[in-house]
Symmetry: C2
Subunit: 279 residues, 2 copies
DNA sequence: GGCGGCGATACCTCCCCGGTATCGATTGCC
DNA sequence: GGCAATCGATACCGGGGAGGTATCGCCGCC
């Protein structure tokens, strides 16, 4: 199976439309049809059910979609990491959610930088659920992930710290006088819905809350009295004056972990992880 | 990057010889040379240093060897799992070291078989260090691994049980009268060296011990007074009469884990894991 | 029933993969 | 020191296959 065929199949499987998939791939539709047929013939497996009106995935097709994406990520990672290795400038890319674990990150970078043989660490900030693909396809070397929100499946990890969560409310809100809250108090606040974060593909789930892309937007919306949120308590360290954090006792505990792709034999990653576990 | 190019590069990187690599790939040498040149040109990276007498890997080349192998495994896994999904016979392949965790495996299979919706589980027995590649390239769905001997890096795992280790000695050996031993007692037994197991590529490490391929060979050699071994204590359950097991107090504890590839959304794998954790 | 949308087919072109023959460089040997 | 052997690179050729355009066949819809 060639990566070209995999790319073609993934495109069709995602679009469920040969014409659009071909457009996305920058080729004409007929070669795409033929490539998929050939892939099915070589595998001896029907991947798609076509009526002349609609395309759907077979059972085997959805398996290949899932596995094929993983395989393409692995190929992309090989490409990127090889290119990076050739630049001669050894450097790490660490990715974390913007606005999370600020203190921890600073301490980690300081501790690592003090080590002998430390390389430069580029910090990449991104939205939630964007870290996983970055780590998987080689655009990043290490990530700070937050369980249970992020899935650490397929990565090697070390736990760094755990913390409770707090509700963020606009200053002056009645609940801000309370010493602590329960989840039930905040999930159904009238007029303060939970915001919606984008999925990895950039789309937003359905729901009542406002759409947010980063923590600055979120804080702004909370300050305006248009939303509320439950976040790890470390977010208090850079809290604006117009927001109040109240502990939520029964919210799930958040564990910050440092994660890196397996078979990462890189000296630099190992050093960074060692620095992290010693914090 | 196409998988063909990756396969070619991995072959050359492993052989460090264009002629032999070409032979292994079943093509002539000139197309192979060209393919590698083209790969280097497209990546913009030197992967190999050729003198007209010898071929060596560059830094970037060894990165691509590691990452490329992982990528090829992922592609192979996609192929195999798609084919398997298409057969319609949902079945699982569980791989474990021959002779290890016999009781646990039996209990696991019984417990899972009793579940509603259980599928057939094919058991694949193999030598040590062979499980990882099987799981990685899709020939197996689940494995029973034994830490710290097997690396679980890159897999999702659940711990099943932990146990101490025992020294296996021929009946009548002086040490068999002892109630327990230390590692130091057994590592340097005169005339009873530790046997050597094959690496994943089938070669044996250097050393004094006899070469063994499976536990039957091992037991035979120990009974003959030609070797000794330190094994998890569960091996006692199917011990021959001419062997004696003595606990080794300071040997590392062995943890049996059930491991499966990440993104395995399969219902069957999930069911088997659930059955395993409930044991 | 005609129209429009969609995937499949037919057919053509050209690139690139693989093969053979050969070169050029390095090494080891007498 | 020169000659042969070894090994990777180069030159050149032929065929298969990838991609393009034109068109067909099928189906849903006004």
């Amino acid at each position: 199976m060639e990566t070209r065929e995999l790319r073609y199949f993934v495109a069709v499987a995602e679009e469920l439309h040969f014409g659009r998939a071909a457009q996305r791939l920058g080729i004409a539709q007929p070669p795409l049809s033929r490539a998929i047929q050939q892939l099915e013939r070589r595998l001896g497996v029907a991947l798609l059910e076509r009526t002349s009106r609609t395309v759907t995935l077979t059972e085997a097709g959805s398996v290949l979609l899932r596995e094929g994406r993983a395989a393409l990520d692995a190929v992309d990672a090989a490409d990127r990491r090889t290119r990076r290795a050739a630049t001669g400038r050894p450097g790490l890319v660490l990715v974390t959610k913007a606005g999370a674990s600020g203190d921890l990150l600073r301490k980690l970078l300081d501790a690592y930088a003090a080590e002998p043989g430390a390389v430069t660490v580029d910090v990449l900030l991104c939205g939630p659920a964007e870290q996983e693909p970055l780590l998987r396809d080689g655009r990043a070397d290490v990530a700070l992930l937050h369980r249970p929100f992020d899935s650490t499946t397929g990565f090697d990890t070390e736990e760094l710290c755990t913390e409770g969560q707090v509700a963020l409310l606009p200053a002056g809100h009645p609940l801000t006088t309370r010493a602590h809250l329960q989840m039930a108090d905040v999930t159904a606040l009238p007029g303060l819905p939970m915001p919606r974060w984008p999925a990895p593909d950039g789309t937003y789930p359905d729901g009542p809350g406002p759409r947010v892309r980063d923590s600055a937007q979120l804080f702004q919306l909370i300050a305006l009295g248009r939303a509320s949120a439950v976040l790890p308590e470390s977010c208090r360290t850079h809290l604006r004056g117009d927001l109040v954090a109240v502990p939520v006792l029964d919210a799930p505990t958040v564990t910050t972990v440092i994660a890196w792709p397996p078979h990462s034999r890189s000296r630099a990653v190992a050093g960074l992880v060692r620095a992290a576990t010693r914090l």
